[in-house]
Symmetry: C2
Subunit: 147 residues, 2 copies
Amino acid sequence: MRLSTKGRYAARLMLELALHYGKGPMLLRDVAEREEISEKYLGQLVAPLKAAGLISSSRGAHGGYALANAPKDISLCEIVQAVEGNLALVECVHSPKICSRVNSCVTRDIWGRLSERLTEELESISLQDIVYQHRRKQSAQPLTYTI
Amino acid sequence: MRLSTKGRYAARLMLELALHYGKGPMLLRDVAEREEISEKYLGQLVAPLKAAGLISSSRGAHGGYALANAPKDISLCEIVQAVEGNLALVECVHSPKICSRVNSCVTRDIWGRLSERLTEELESISLQDIVYQHRRKQSAQPLTYTI
DNA sequence: GTAATCACTACTAATTTAATAGAATTAGTA
DNA sequence: TACTAATTCTATTAAATTAGTAGTGATTAC
């Protein structure tokens, strides 16, 4: 029950855009370098994020990507959902037709409620929260070199 | 971020054993028939469940499987964990060594806390709870044939 | 001793994941 | 207009995972 790289990388991509918020579009190349993720692979993740209205892009020279809204108005849930699809822990929760047992299957109900709880948790975390936690953690980090 | 058939089938297998609790060992063949799951595949799931101390088995004629403890004393968390391994949403939470960024990566902290919340939710659901909900649902079910 | 049952191991087809590669499109600027 | 920098789109692929199937061996009740 692991989150794939899509969701994980999308979260890191969005964090970089949030850290750059208000400073114009950010190059995908820079995001890729800072997060040590393949630029080409990130290139595939921005499409669904844009389709979901979470980021905007400008092409050509001096182009790049920027958050479509303020960090406080973007939830982690939206980010993960954009790249991973619905967050149901089992497929039958969203696609009842795939199983003939849905009407009698109590485990489906349980997985459904758990999926809702998980979604609520993800909704409660905003990109702004992640920025705060990142800044706090950065300032607590020891330097990686000695003077 | 889906639960695999291992976790889902294990939950259904354990529910059948719980419904049969106190009536001696239950044949895997009967579990397979009632739940419409391949008996051979279920045969692979019982090994980790037994290793985790959740079920006991008796071999030979009149053998079968039974819960090792009362349904109220077995949590859904134990069942899923037995067959799926640890419930971390991302691998680096339990295996920090696989990524050099763990010390500075704030998203790892977030996935870690979410994994904990999910684990708590699963711990709060006992097999007895599932039996209750199953019985309630069964009695509310309309008959599948008309008189 | 034989039939019934669990136990163990090996194999496999299909799907998903995690990319890589390259051509096409768009926009700013000299 | 031509050039360059950037996103956008589509195809391909190697590796890993999933969801089984198959067969043989070990154990026990009768």
